[in-house]
Amino acid sequence: MDRVPILSLGDVLLVSIQVDLQDESVVALQEDLAERIVDSGASGVVIDISAVEIVDSFIGRMFATIASLSKVLDAETVVVGMRPAVAITLVELGLSLQGVRTALDLERGLAALRQRRAEREIPLADESDEAVEAPTAAWD
């Protein structure tokens, strides 16, 4: 069985699927990925499927499963590089992958993750300023 490699890229995990997926390797990928997200504390997962030419309903559901799995672990999933034939097949199978973010290529996928993170980030209030001001206010 081929194991799909999971690469770490900053705080993003990159899963590049270069082989024809078997059902067992898909299951193994889900387990590996969940473990890696927890170990590395990654904030995003990019699944590159530009080399995948054939999908079935099981693999189609895998994308949705991985997306909801990473969401639980506080990481966002982007599926990138889906081929037209694959997209058509998934639609015909009735898998519209609601809730899975997609991007045309790896570059745009990473950019989307970066943008999402910038939106989500809440700036921490600077405590030192308040600490200096508070005593003077009390004395007045």
Binding site: V79, R83, V91, S96, L104, D105
Partner: protein
């Protein structure tokens, strides 16, 4: 021979044009059947890859009528484009077609629809961060 010509005709009647950097459009003219919408779907999706476009517009101003099958095909195209990471807008829906769609009970869901191709282009440009500003004429009047 005739089938070959029919295929060529099918290819010719479905042009995919690039309106802007990252915005492609398919102006559909004439009656749609499922064979034609299938060709449109494949061609549009391939163009998205080739040009790296994140916005697609399907303009159906020149389409006199749609049936359930064609509407379903259009919806499938939109969902497939979304799966590939592009956003798809449908523009130029005629009043009769709108009535048909509602009467047939077809759900367009959260698919953006715009009145004209111009509106759809503006929407796509705004979404991709392009600002359209009318330049003030100087020295006029």
């Amino acid at each position: 021979m005739i089938t070959e010509q029919a295929e060529q005709l099918l290819e010719l009647t479905t042009p995919v044009v690039e309106l802007w950097e990252g915005v492609v459009a398919v102006p559909l003219i004439g009656t749609l059947d499922s064979a034609r919408t299938q060709v449109v779907m494949e061609k549009l999706l391939q163009t998205l890859i080739d040009t790296g476009s994140e916005h697609a517009i399907i303009d159906i101003t020149g389409v006199p009528a749609v049936d359930t099958e064609v509407a379903q095909h259009l919806l499938k195209t939109v969902v497939a484009a979304r799966l590939m990471g592009a956003e798809c807008t449908i523009s130029g829906i005629r009043p009769q077609i709108a009535q048909t769609i509602v009467a047939l009970g077809i759900e367009f869901g959260d698919i953006p629809t715009k009145a004209t191709l111009a509106d759809a282009l503006l929407y796509a440009l705004r979404n991709s961060g392009v600002e359209v500003v009318r330049r003030r004429r100087t020295g006029a009047g």
